[in-house]
């Protein structure tokens, strides 16, 4: 066991203070948020007119408040209704021991994710795509198409709806099967795309731990040079599903890539509350989940997105707070809502991903084309755009990215609540030639020019 600290965490998940999920969500989280917002004078500071925060002192105040909130609350194991608290010493030790550099993949195709600061010239690395559901017959070509995008650093790909015609059902053996089979195909696809050592993220098709057991860190599956994806519930909650995945990844010597969104409009309330919850959660992933890369995710439930003004502001403050005050490897996601074949998807990408990159996140993944709602609504083109934006925005100033956001938000923000879902992959992308069809390519060329005119050169 290379991280014995997990033993104490597992013990606390069984023997920590008793607290129901309802008490946690409806009483403890809002109470903690309210106290910290008052104590640190953070109420009402969200500035939607300047969605990319440029106030370093504000970010630092949020960090202090979030750190305190992490120590006050801990995380709730919702399987057992037990609170996993950590001491100040444990938290600061975990933050010190967490890696500031991580190699994903092997050889010349590997990607090195590093600690970054706001406006850091070292590129924010990008993994594509998110786990949008893809039909079994489309998945191989689409995933290869994503792997062939030079700009994409790490390959995740969509999630498989079925495997050998069998529906992938939670807790069913089909999850163990898809975990392994997807991993096997994933590794082969990287070779086919000419990037055999490209880093990957596994696994995405199964929701329970069976996918990890079947598909990560065992011979023939996702190797331990890939990231092991471990998502967990909001706000500051874990469960046995999460902890099984953590223990399995540690058992096989893998790398833990964790994440969970703090919800604007949810239990933490306003954008300022979501930032606090996000910072607390990001910090606690290191002692509680032994994360190598931890998530700083924001989601606005009023919009089912975070590329609205409040979401962009919350993303920028969260990542500036974390990057300015720690050496952690942190991750952010831009949650687009528009679909392939729409300019809005590209604008949402430019604003969302550039905010994450310029604010100091080490790593980002995406896109969430069509809000992740529809099967096969994903193309390699927007995966490439996300990566290009992440790289290009990395050395810019916060002021510049704020200007870009202000210029582009009016082009899509009115449609966020009622977005255009766009078109299915075959209508806009040729998966045999691995190129966008003229209409979609044309939209990319136009938005690329607009971005360049604003100072973001893709």
């Amino acid at each position: 066991m290379n991280k014995p600290e997990i033993i104490n965490i597992l013990d606390r998940s069984q023997n920590g203070e008793y607290c129901t999920v309802k008490e946690w969500d409806v009483k403890r989280i809002p109470k903690a948020v309210k106290e910290k917002l008052e104590k640190y004078e953070l109420k009402g500071v969200c500035d939607p007119e300047n969605p990319v925060n440029m106030d370093a002192e504000l970010a630092d105040r949020f960090f202090k408040a979030g750190y305190e909130m992490a120590l006050d609350l801990g995380m709730l194991c919702e399987t057992t209704d037990r609170v996993i608290k950590v001491s100040d010493e444990e938290l600061s030790e975990a933050l010190k021991k967490a890696p500031s550099e991580l190699t994903v993949g092997t050889g010349e195709d590997a990607t090195v994710i590093k600690t970054r600061k706001p406006s850091d010239a070292y590129e924010c690395k990008f993994g594509a795509s998110l786990g949008i559901t893809i039909s079994e017959d489309v998945w191989p070509a689409l995933t290869e198409g994503i792997a062939r995008q030079e700009a994409v650093d790490v390959l995740e790909g969509g999630s498989l709806k079925s495997i050998y015609g069998l529906d992938v059902i939670p807790d069913a053996p089909s999850e163990t099967l898809v975990g392994f089979e997807q991993a096997k195909q994933h590794v082969e696809i990287r070779k086919k795309a000419g990037r055999p050592g490209m880093g990957g993220i596994g696994q995405i098709s199964a929701v329970t731990e069976y996918g990890q057991f079947g598909g990560y860190g065992i011979p023939g599956a996702f190797p331990t040079t890939d990231l092991s994806l471990i998502l967990f519930p909001s706000e500051l909650k874990v469960n046995y599903q999460t902890l099984h995945k953590v223990v399995h990844t540690l058992n096989v010597g893998g790398m833990i890539f964790a994440g969970s969104p703090a919800m604007i409009g949810g239990m933490p309330g306003p954008p300022e509350g979501a930032v606090l919850s996000c910072i607390a959660c990001a910090l606690l992933q290191y002692p509680v989940l032994q994360a190598d890369v931890g998530g700083g995710e924001i989601y606005d439930i009023r919009y089912l997105s975070n590329v609205n003004r409040d979401g962009i502001w919350a993303l920028s403050v969260t990542h500036q707070a974390l990057s300015r005050n720690t050496n952690l490897l942190t991750h952010g996601i831009a949650n687009q809502v528009s679909g392939p074949g729409t300019k809005e998807l590209l604008y949402e990408t430019v604003v969302g991903v550039s905010t994450i990159a310029v604010s100091g996140a080490s790593f980002s993944t995406g896109p969430r084309s069509a809000g992740g709602k529809l099967d096969d609504y994903l193309t390699p083109l927007e995966c490439r755009v996300c990566a290009e934006v992440a790289h290009a925005a990395s050395g810019l100033s916060l002021e510049k990215v704020n200007e870009i956001a202000k210029a582009l938000l009016p082009k899509f923000e009115d449609s966020i609540k009622d977005p255009h879902i766009g078109k299915i992959v075959h209508d806009v992308y040729d998966l045999e030639k691995f190129e966008a069809k003229p209409e979609w390519q044309g939209m990319y060329d136009e938005v690329k020019q607009e971005a360049s005119d604003l100072g973001l050169v893709l």
Binding site: V26, I29, E78, P170, M263, G269, G372, K373, D375, I421
Partner: protein, 233 residues
């Protein structure tokens, strides 16, 4: 205290989400002779439009909405037994069994819908998260539910939704209950594919949808699902 003051006092406790005071205030109103149907209409259902608008505009958030729903439920539990059988149908929206499907731990959408439904007069049995199809179907029988409301944020759980409608058909219960679905990856087309009676795009739509299916005047299953909040091409 005149009747209107009892109504206003109860309304205040509900919009403040004070479930400890809402019960005694409802009891006091009943004992003072306030008409129970009027209490439901003016002190509970009445304020909910305003509550809904405040939630949508971000003046209140989910914890407040849940507490308001709890206060409304506590008050309803006191008032409803005093309503005559003739007035009961008008006062009660029906019984809804709600949960997040097996494999999915996301509960935000479900919690919002539950709160809205409770606050607008439905009796809600919240099964929580990670609910198996078998548990959903069992709850329909146990609660004599009128509606099953299923949500998910994970596209990978969708095969299980079809399992629920199939199990209801196979067990001969399909005509006894309306099935409505919603959540991030769920679409109207997919709702039709699995034989659901209704699709709601977001939580606010779900409460409206529940009312619409129950007052449509048609037995389940519907030939095509009622859609509240369609996606735009």
């Amino acid at each position: 205290m005149d009747n209107q003051k009892y109504i206003e006092e109860l309304k205040q406790f509900i919009v403040e989400g004070d479930d400890e005071q809402a019960g005694p205030a409802a009891q006091a109103a009943i004992e003072a002779g306030v008409d129970p149907s009027t209490l439901i209409k003016e002190a509970i259902n009445g304020p909910m439009d305003e509550v809904g608008k405040k939630f949508q505009s971000g003046d209140i958030f989910l914890p407040e909405l849940i507490m308001i729903g709890d206060a409304a439920r506590v008050a309803s539990d006191v008032i409803v037994p005093h309503i005559s059988v003739e007035d009961l149908d008008a006062a009660s929206g029906g019984t809804v069994v709600i949960g997040t499907i097996q494999g999915d731990m996301h509960d935000i959408g479900k919690n919002i819908v539950s709160a809205y439904l409770m606050a607008t007069g439905f009796k809600v049995k919240d099964l929580g998260t990670d609910v198996t199809p078998k548990e959903f179907v069992q709850a329909v029988a146990d609660e004599k539910a009128d509606v099953i409301a299923i949500s998910t944020l994970l596209s990978t759980t969708q095969p299980l939704f079809a399992n629920i409608t199939k199990t209801l058909v196979d067990s001969g219960q399909r005509e006894d209950v309306y099935v409505i679905v919603g959540g991030g990856p769920v679409t109207p087309e997919w709702a039709a594919e699995i034989g659901a009676d209704g699709y709601g795009r977001d939580a606010a739509d779900a409460a409206d949808l529940t009312r619409q299916v129950m007052t449509a005047g048609k037995k389940a299953p519907f030939a095509k699902p009622l859609v509240v909040g369609a996606l735009k091409q």
